[in-house]
Amino acid sequence: MNNHERPLSPHLSIYRWPVTMATSILHRATGVGMAVGFIVLVGWLFDAASGPDVYAKFLAVMDSTIGCVLLVGLSYAFFFHLANGIRHLVWDTGRGLEKEQATASAWYVIVASIVLTAAFWWVAS
């Protein structure tokens, strides 16, 4: 059977991305990012329990350029996933689901995640 002439329903590549689409996929991406962050957390705990020599290696990796980029990325992933997770909990109560409300809360989440990440590193430094 020849399917080539049949019209296709519009999909991701057709739409101009609304901000709610970006926050939706970012929630999943930052969630996977936090799964990686969990590995780093366990690495920190386990290497500390393994003694000073092993811990020194962990510190060396985190002090490298790649380690710093990883940590900044993980901190952003945490704050985004936290803020958007709270947005999901509000949705679970049936509130904020109108198109305009969801668009507004998407921007709140983006701003909050950036401000919180900046505040985190400002307090840390």
Binding site: A35, I39, L41, W44, L45, F46, A124
Partner: protein
């Protein structure tokens, strides 16, 4: 009129056979992680340093050890639920999907066990 049997309606498990337990578990662990995660982020940001001595001193304080235990176990559970959905959405081959889900489950259990062991060792032993 509903075509569901009275038994099916009472059990409320739906076509996936596990009802709302996955959804509910993700919410319960998510709320806990919002609190535990903010506590841990605050600790990291205000820690004097990350030398071996400072890290061990932080982890072995009883209050910190307890909260780190809760954080690690809750995070393993929440992460497992999330990664499971990602695998189910994107891995379509039945064999690869089953293998990925198994691997993810074992990996999360190993990570949780490693975290619990490390915290207890530092909190009780060191």
């Amino acid at each position: 009129m509903s075509l569901r049997s009275p038994l099916g309606r009472v059990l409320g498990l739906g076509t996936a056979k596990d009802g709302t337990s996955h959804w509910w578990g993700q919410r319960v662990s998510g709320i806990a992680l919002a609190v535990l995660g903010l506590w841990f982020a605050w600790c990291l940001a205000t820690m004097s340093g990350f030398s071996y001595a400072e890290a061990v001193a932080f982890i072995s304080r009883p209050v910190n050890a307890l909260l780190l235990l809760l954080l690690s176990v809750t995070m393993a559970y929440h992460s497992y639920l999330g990664v499971q959905v990602v695998i189910e959405d994107y891995v379509h081959s039945h064999g690869l999907k089953t293998a990925s889900l198994l691997l993810s489950r074992y990996a999360h259990i190993v990570l949780a066990a490693a975290a619990v062991f490390a915290i207890l060792k530092l909190g009780i032993g060191a």
